[in-house]
Amino acid sequence: MSRVAVLKGGRSLERQVSLRSGARVEAAIKRLGHEVVPIDVGVDLIERLRAESPDVCFVALHGRDGEDGTVQELLEILDLPYTGSGVPACARAMDKVLTKHMLLEAGVPTPEFFAFTQMAFRELGAAEALPIIEERLDFPIVVKPSSQGSALGIKFARSAADVPAALVSAFSYDARVLLERHVKGRDLAVSVLDGDGGPRALPVVEAVPREEDFYDFEARYEIGRTEFVCPAELPGAVAERAAELALATYGILGLHGFGRVDLMLDEADELYVLEANPIPGLTDTSLLPMAAEAADIGFDELVGRILELALARAAAAPA
């Protein structure tokens, strides 16, 4: 039996999802026979961890602080084993721009994009370059903050007239935003889980919009307007290629334990990686647990394996 601290909540915009992930993880850890120490991450985090001195920390945080390497850095300093990816992998994955550059360098397809800071517009006259970008990417263009999780701050520009407002919105979330070519097609997610034989891709999940011929990017993320199908109905070769790209992305970013890679499949059956999530949702409607279920890995087993991986990594690390 181990003493497991579950880190959840925090101040990120994804606090609510994290609380749900955390609650579900806590229940699983109890069922596995471990002792649970729930911690809603706040200013007393270090104090709490010192007082509780857990054997291992399950990081069930999403978004800023929890998923970008900040909390992981603190756990490293305290020398506490923790679940999931380490500091550099989190930092790389939470930065969509860096992720895309690394993917391109490694030959993994990702939609063409341009990234700017607010400063570039304010002080370097980057706005003058917008018409060139718009021509290169062609409409519609997806505008998104570089560092947010979920779909927060993502806007869909149908024409040049939509671009400035979309940029203003995206800059509310981050000092850096990217303009990305929109890949029209199917929305896929491949979860990856480490194991004895190395990382393994779980069955593909597809997000299917409920309404026919709807073309509303934002609505795609609204409750009840999207249905998730797992395993996605795909030709074998496409599913294999999706798994291959997800594993490549996982490796390039240096993720550990588990993760989720989001992809688009265009009408010519070409696949593009959009981003990777070092700590995907673990709620009862989240995609990683859904994919694990489809691979006959129940939620308790999933949580148990993630914990074992964390302890094994800590044991293998030089003292």
Binding site: L13, E14, V17, S18, R20, S21, H62, G63, E67, Q118, F121, R122, G125, A127, L130, G149, S150, A151, L152, G153, V163, P164, A165, L167, V168, S169, A170, F171, S172, Y173, A189, A207, Y221, I223, G224, T226, E227, F228, N277, I279, P280, G281, L282, T283, T285, S286, L287, L288
Partner: protein, 303 residues
């Protein structure tokens, strides 16, 4: 809704349409005085017409009046209940805004057959409100000078409203418009169309200041460039500082938009006064088809 409250003409259009569709509304809900979130008050003429419409069509009206006693200027128009004589109008009052927010006690005035049903429903819902707190509130209103207490509250809130309006005139850009409520707790501000207040809120939160984005007041995606500002809970100094920070975040977005388009410049307001009551806090009434619940809502865990 406009500066005179609910557009009763649009209500009638809506009722006509519902009738054509064979649908009968259960009742008409309205906050005629210092509406939440807009802060506007329904004019006497509109009130009279609303009561007529209710009688003509034999429809119940639920008059919710939590803020009516918090009036900082002018005379209160007659409540709908008074105009109607208690035939079709049900009236709701609350002690939350005039005694203590935590008290969670209110009162209902309604035609006797309706009241009977309400009693039944309430008993079923919560087995009656605590008798002890009811007795305490009763004793308070019997023994104390509650009118004096409400006067002291209105003096405080009037000062806060004025502080907020003055700070908005100073820090909000001239392209923004807002209501000038004669009472209640809310100001409704509308920004240029290209600002999405859901996103602006995220920017403002970084400076530890918050407001309610306008989209929360609609079911159909309108209100995305509006916000509700509440002046009840913070003292005047904090209100001034909060409005200054929100104003700065707005200005930053206006400037960014300006550099992106070259057509829109942030213009500082010089000695301008908050534009009283000219604002249309929302286009006309529309029936919004509510999405029926289909089992459990599904959503990816995101992250």
């Amino acid at each position: 809704m406009d500066a005179e409250g609910m557009r009763v003409d649009l209500l009638e259009d809506t009722l006509d349409r519902l009738e054509r569709d064979g649908r009968r509304p259960k009742f008409i809900y309205t906050v005629p005085s210092f509406q939440n979130p807009a802060g506007v008050t329904m004019s006497l003429a509109r009130r009279k017409r609303l009561v007529e419409v209710a009688a003509e069509r034999e429809l119940l009206v639920l008059e919710d009046n939590p803020y009516g006693l918090l009036r900082y200027e002018g005379e209160a128009p007659e409540p709908l209940y008074g105009l109607d004589g208690g035939v079709y109008v049900m009236y709701l009052g609350t002690f939350s805004k005039i005694l203590s927010p935590g008290i969670r006690l209110g009162w209902v005035v309604a035609p006797p057959p309706v009241l009977e049903k309400i009693n039944l429903g309430k008993q079923e819902a919560d087995l009656c409100t605590s008798t002890l707190s009811q007795l305490m509130v009763q004793a308070y209103f019997e023994l104390s000078d509650w009118r004096e207490y409400v006067r002291s509250l209105t003096a405080i809130y009037r000062g806060r409203r004025d502080a907020m309006l003055a700070a908005m005139a100073e820090h909000f850009p001239s392209q923004a418009e807002w209501t000038h409520p004669a009472g209640g707790l809310f100001i409704w501000a509308t920004l240029p169309d290209f600002i999405d207040t859901d996103d602006l809120l995220v920017r403002a939160l970084r400076d530890n200041v918050a407001f309610v984005p306008g989209s929360g007041a609609y079911l159909d995606g309108r209100g995305h460039n509006s916000m509700r500002l509440n002046f009840s809970g913070s003292d005047e100094e904090r209100i001034r500082e909060g409005v200054r920070r929100i104003g700065e975040a707005i200005r930053e977005q206006l400037e960014l938009y300006g550099t992106l388009t070259g057509e829109f410049k942030a213009v500082p307001v010089e000695g301008a006064e908050a534009d009283a009551g000219q604002t249309d806090p929302g286009a006309g009434a529309r029936v919004v088809e509510l999405r029926r619940r289909e089992g459990r809502p599904r959503r990816a865990g995101g992250a």
